[in-house]
């Protein structure tokens, strides 16, 4: 009788231990691989990748479809070359899709957002995403805003003609967003 109680208690212990492992694995942690785990690799060149790191998510319409595999620099153009692993189940992404480096939230981690194009051909293993948009660098934007504000201040101080130089950097700043 006593040994029966002992067996039940040990069984109970092992059960909740294994259950805890399962909870940690399936409820707390997200899986490392998306889909079946098979991937194909494409590359994209960016002028500036900001704080993008290896392992960052690649999302399409907000859904994770891959991850950044590696980051290197092109020795000729000095652009960042980002190698991207995309889930094999998503093999019909148009060739002229756009890769943008986006930020999750205002100060969150950076990820690559893919926006589908309209091409009939789709991305293959080894193909390059031609249309890219660099990271949103907060310092640059703030700098541009400050420059345009001081320019505006000068303009209002001295009502001289030619507002053109003031509007030129401001106009540049807006489409950069």
């Amino acid at each position: 009788m006593q040994s029966r109680a002992l067996e039940i208690l040990v069984g109970f212990f092992v059960c909740i231990g294994v259950a805890a492992v399962f909870v940690l694995t399936f409820r707390v942690a997200s899986q490392d691989h998306v889909g079946s785990g098979a991937v194909y690799e494409v590359t994209a060149k960016f002028d500036n990748i900001g704080a993008l790191t290896r392992g960052a998510a690649v999302k399409m319409a907000g859904v994770k479809i891959g991850a950044v595999k590696g980051i290197s620099i092109d020795p000729k153009t000095f652009q960042a070359v980002v190698a991207i692993d995309i889930d094999k189940d998503r093999s019909d992404i148009p060739l002229d899709s756009t890769a943008k480096i986006m930020t999750a939230g205002l100060l969150g981690e950076q990820y690559i957002g893919l926006e589908p194009g309209g091409d009939d051909q789709s991305l293959q293993n080894g193909s390059e995403i031609k249309f890219t948009q660099s990271a949103f660098i907060l310092e640059n934007i703030i700098g541009q805003v400050l420059v345009s504000m001081t320019q505006k201040g000068k303009d209002s101080d001295s009502p001289a003609p030619a507002p053109a130089p003031a509007s030129a950097p401001a106009a540049k700043a807006v489409p950069a967003k």
Binding site: V10, G17, V23
Partner: protein, 255 residues
């Protein structure tokens, strides 16, 4: 000078002896696995009896981390990251280390005292007289029980600390972090390999604690003082080794 070298010599001799002892235990493991009844009994003493202390301290660690993390994160206006703060700290460091430390105090010391007393009362040599190998019969089942229990206890600790009764209770119900944000941030940041590495860590700690406690018990001086010394040095050495090993494992895993 001579006392220095004798301390070093004692240390090396102890380490060498402990290594041979570990090899002896590992050789006895397959035979011990054929006697699940003995392992079951030890699982009860080592695992089930440690359950309450692990559950309670896991819950409290979750509360503490949530309170402390909330204060720190408020400074940066990032309280939405509270969930991942608690979960990452618990899974990567707190759960394996705190569980191992508590386990060394709760179960390791008991193992060393039990084996040491068995030796002091000549039970071990009595077994040898009856051609029963005390390594197979006494040491190996306890070693296996420690090895099985510690990862399970670590997982229970982590679930208690992160879950509904732990960090969630303080973070969501008391401090008002949104429940969806709490879990969403955890899902976004905690990866499967974090959990696997946490379990690998606790398995390593299990080997260390099991090894130290049975070694200390088995080679304790057969006196009441010897047993008390074995118990103390089990806890001290296990705790120090766990903390040191944790640094090495963390340096390996989370770079």
């Amino acid at each position: 000078m001579s006392s220095n070298s004798s301390i070093l010599g004692d240390f090396l001799r102890g380490l060498g002896g402990a290594t041979f002892f570990l090899i002896t235990i590992l050789r006895a493991l397959p035979g011990a696995l054929l006697r699940p009844r003995l392992i079951l009994q030890q699982l009860y003493y080592v695992g089930v009896m440690s359950l309450i202390i692990i559950v309670i301290s896991g819950t409290f660690v979750g509360w503490i981390l949530a309170l402390q993390g909330f204060r720190t994160l408020t400074t940066f206006g990032a309280t939405s990251a509270l969930g991942v703060f608690v979960a990452a700290t618990v899974i990567r460091e707190m759960a394996p280390v705190v569980t191992a430390l508590l386990f060394a105090g709760r179960a390791g010391s008991a193992l060393a005292a039990e084996i040491g007393l068995m030796k002091a009362t000549d039970q071990l040599s009595g077994m040898e007289m009856m051609a029963v190998d005390p390594i197979k019969r006494v040491i190996a089942p306890r070693f296996i029980a420690v090895l099985i229990s510690l990862p399970l206890l670590t997982a229970i600790f982590a679930v208690m600390a992160i879950g509904r009764a732990g960090g969630h209770l303080i973070g969501v119900d008391l401090l008002g972090v949104d429940q969806g944000t709490y879990w969403g941030q955890i899902h976004a940041q905690i990866k499967l390999h974090d959990v696997i590495e946490s379990i690998i860590k606790s398995a390593c700690f299990g080997v260390v604690i099991g090894w130290i406690s049975v070694y200390q018990g088995y080679f304790a001086a057969p006196t009441s003082e010897g047993v008390s010394r074995a118990t103390t040095s089990t806890v001290v050495m296990s705790s120090l080794t766990v903390v040191g090993l944790d640094f090495v494992l963390t340096a390996f895993m989370f770079r």
